[in-house]
Symmetry: C2
Subunit: 201 residues, 2 copies
């Protein structure tokens, strides 16, 4: 007995491929599109269809750019300090840093973090290109803006080794108490890092 | 300055229309599709595109059926008792009831619940068609399987009034303690209903 039409079952299965979407959520999305105005589902499927042809990677920084554009605005903009590079794991990390409005350097997207469990080796990341940029742009400082995770830390360590004896300052983001979080609720490691990195008032 | 390519921003906005999807989740879905195999996004957009042309409504029960099929299998199947109708708000409620494997009657989908706040009047629901079925199929029992919410209860009451003096048993789903839930954690109203509806051992 057919409880649901095959076209709807296919759609529920397709939504189920998205990260964190279980069968109930997928059903909810599918039923929403079925009941919504045709324009809503048209907008969704046409933007999925067009996305792949509209998105490319910057050849310098590996940030996401409009297809056809070789280099990201974040690199070509004359207001950007090319001797300062923030190294991030994924393209969306750039959006997070830009929101602070406190950074005027350029970026370099690694395309992931070294993770033996997931089979990601340093060779798969854009580390060689980073070293090339350091030499080419006479970079003064590299900020390793990777996550405070095991993968983030070991990727940072690997990059530091690759930079070697080049005359460039290598820094990383401060670890410490997040703003607005009570000291008593901070985990031991964070609090330990906050103690280590204490600053003079 | 363009932080993200327009094609990706459009997709993030389109995902943001789905129920319960905020900007961060939409970004996560979009970035997943960008990194996934092309087949994954093809499956999703083509199933959204095809869905509307593949799904119709049963002319009897208003359940979801394959386009072109007039009447749902759940009605035409000879094993189904046409004199017993479970009235549900939405098509997916049928799936939930079918999973119990305890029901052998037919269904009637209202297409919503009476809700003055959302501007849903009884005339917009398939209530007239239900009354017609009751007369035509010589229905013995109508189970009002609507939610235990204000809208569900008031819709049930309205249907009961419309059925009027017809010789048909009108029942509703039992309210009481969900299986596996501790009595002390049940809310007052549920516990009150469980007391009211207590059964003889």
């Amino acid at each position: 007995m057919q409880l649901l039409p095959p076209a709807l079952i296919s759609l529920i299965e397709a939504f189920g491929n998205l990260p964190g979407v279980g069968p109930r959520t997928a059903e909810r999305y599918a039923y929403f599109l079925l009941k919504a105005e045709p324009a809503v589902s048209h907008e969704l499927y046409s933007s999925i269809e067009k996305m792949r042809d509209g998105v490319g990677y910057c050849q310098k920084t590996f940030a996401l750019v409009e297809k056809g554009k070789e280099i990201s605005d974040l690199y070509t903009d004359p207001g950007r300090d090319k001797t300062l590079i923030a190294v991030v794991a994924e393209p969306f990390d750039i959006v997070a840093i830009e929101k602070t409005s406190q950074y005027k350097g350029t970026y370099h997207v690694l395309g992931g973090l070294v993770s033996p469990i997931d089979g990601i080796t340093p060779e798969q990341l854009h580390i060689k290109q980073l070293i090339h940029r350091i030499d080419e742009d006479k970079v003064q400082e590299v900020i390793l803006a990777t996550n405070a995770s095991v993968e983030g830390e070991s990727t940072a360590l690997y990059i530091q080794q690759q930079i070697g004896k080049r005359k460039v300052k290598v820094t990383r983001l401060a670890r410490g108490l997040p703003v607005g979080v009570d000291l008593e609720y901070a985990d031991q490691i964070t609090l330990g890092r906050a103690l280590e990195g204490r600053t003079v008032l």
